[in-house]
């Protein structure tokens, strides 16, 4: 992407690089021109990479001690907590790490929503990101089953039963998923196997996600296309690396606060009771990061309808680049979209809140309104808004905040021309 192709200085380096251009790759990653006005919301990409690596590494060592068997899983977790050297530390990093991972991914997603990072030419980045998010949910769900506590067991029962809503083949699918007639040992062992596999698929997708990012380059807070490299950009290293590192350290401090001082606050006490197929806990809730979807599921009185809505609420995000057609990316210059963005955040938080509450009375009403609004936002408000919204004038570049004063579509075209030069 830089102007002159990279040539290694040493003879061996050149020899090796001609055969496998790792050095070119590393030079590209270092020099990669990055908009200099990226704010701290942009540091979550690096933070998420850290989260993924942390989960993989801690998971790897936990798997050395964990026993995936319905009779032994619960005890083996306690063995890790009590006897294995630093086992409690590794397990608390892993279990809280899942929550921190989702916290970071939600900030990352909402950053993309605010600054329009999913828009052309970054649709593929967005779609890969959404696939990662879906796989993350699957991985986290299966991971939560592994301790074989009451929440593990009943969470697995409830979620796998979602598939029984499918007409005709539903029963067959759930039986196939379980490897039996209920959640039992075969279910646990296959979940363990997949829980081990999925993070590596995620890792592969993350590489594609970054690759797809490096083709058009980063979006930025004002959302305009910029020349690269130029006065508007800085090399990734050391400018962005050090900034990402600083943000990461702040993140790790908060993470450590959870690990060391309230490691169970994100979990559920019932999961410290071994799974019992005869007794359902009085109040089943998924992990906090799945609560909005849980609320959507329960807001529909019909079993199949709820499941369809649940999956629709996730898959609708894949279509987002084609639902929001506004040429202006950043919400900074979209006064009306900005308001709806915050309404969506409140809507999702409210859904998360009622997802943790019993599905009755006022809570159910809020869940229904929230669900309706969620779909309204994506299916009606966004397409409509992109046609009628009068956006603010965009600056010409990052360095010179001079407003073009032209109508936006022309603006965008001229930007695109610049890029094609």
């Amino acid at each position: 992407m830089s102007d002159t192709p990279y040539v290694p200085s040493s003879k061996f380096g050149k020899w090796f690089n001609d055969r496998l251009p790792l050095l070119t790759l590393s030079a590209h990653l270092q020099d990669y021109p990055t908009p200099k006005n990226l704010n701290y919301w942009w540091t979550f990409g690096g933070i998420l990479t850290f989260c993924l690596v942390t989960q993989i590494v801690t998971g790897l060592v936990l798997a050395m001690h964990y026993v995936a068997h319905a009779d032994l899983a619960f005890d083996s977790i306690e063995h890790i907590m009590r006897d294995v050297n630093y086992g409690w530390l590794l397990r608390y990093i892993h279990s809280n790490g899942a929550s921190m991972f989702f916290l970071a991914v939600y900030i990352h997603i909402f950053r993309a929503l605010f600054y329009g990072s999913y828009k052309s030419p970054r649709e593929v980045i967005w779609i890969i990101g959404m696939l990662i998010y879906i796989l993350m949910m699957a991985t986290a769900f299966m991971g939560y089953v592994l301790p074989w506590g009451q929440m593990s067991f009943w969470g697995a029962t409830v979620i796998t039963n979602l598939f029984s809503a499918i007409p005709f083949v539903g029963e067959g699918i759930t039986t196939w998923l379980w490897g039996g007639y209920s959640v039992d040992n075969p279910t646990l062992t296959r979940f363990f196997s997949l829980h081990y596999l999925f993070p590596f698929i995620i890792l592969g997708l993350v590489i594609l996600h970054i690759w797809a990012l490096h083709v058009p380059g980063n979006n930025n807070p004002i959302g305009i296309d910029i020349k690269k490299p130029s006065k508007d950009t800085v090399p990734f290293h050391p400018y962005i690396t050090i900034k990402d590192l600083f943000a990461l350290l702040i993140f790790i401090i908060i993470f450590s606060g959870f690990i060391f001082f309230s490691p169970n606050v994100m979990g559920h006490p019932d999961n410290y009771i071994q799974a019992n197929p005869l007794i359902t806990p009085t109040h089943i809730v998924p992990e906090w990061y799945l609560l909005p979807f849980y609320a959507i599921l329960r807001s529909v009185p019909d079993k199949l309808g709820g499941v369809i809505l649940l999956f629709a609420s996730i898959f609708i995000l894949l279509a987002l680049p084609w639902l929001d057609k506004s040429k202006v990316r950043s919400a900074v210059f979209r006064p009306i979209y900005r308001i709806f963005f915050w309404v969506l955040i409140i809507d999702v938080l409210a859904l998360g809140y009622v997802g943790a509450m019993p599905a009755e009375g006022l809570y159910l009403l809020i869940a229904r309104v929230g669900t309706a609004y969620y779909f309204l936002h994506f299916l009606v408000i966004l397409p409509f808004l992109s046609r009628v919204e009068k956006t603010d004038p965009l600056p010409l570049s990052i360095s010179e905040p001079v407003f073009g004063g032209m109508p936006k579509p022309a603006m965008m075209k001229s930007d695109k021309k610049n890029k094609n030069e």
Binding site: V57, V61, H79, R82, D83, N85, Y86, G87, L90
Partner: protein, 171 residues
Amino acid sequence: MDKLEKKTNRRDFLFTASYTVGAVGIGAVIWPFVDQMNPDRSVKALATTEVDISQIEPGKSITVLWRGKPVFIKRRTESEILEAQKVNLNELPHPEKDEERVKKSEWLVMLGVCTHLGCVPLADKGEYKGWFCPCHGSHYDTSGRIRKGPAPTNMEIPKYEFVNNNTIKIG
């Protein structure tokens, strides 16, 4: 000029300090990941085993499991003891007196692991009436000393003690 130099020095110090502190942190993080593979508390707690030996007849031996390995406890007959004691040390690949290998000459307590590649030797076999390793043909005598074959050293003696006349504590 002076000012500029000072500035660079301070910058160098700042970066060096960051790198150093960061490296210390990474080192500290790596340790738990390494140490988790060491024997855990429950394994260490099993490091001693007490064995009742009152039922063993002279000439017979029992095998007990200690730290996942077999331990041979043999009550030797007079002739076996004599044979073990009279051996000329110069003939041995790994010279050790029988007296050094036992606490009471009647009782031989040793790790039943061939020092060649870790197989378990068979009792009362081989050319020296002691043990014979079926894997690669090492012959041990009645004191568990290597006499013939590829094994480099005598079979190991674990740490043990007689709690009383009927009980041995291994480990």
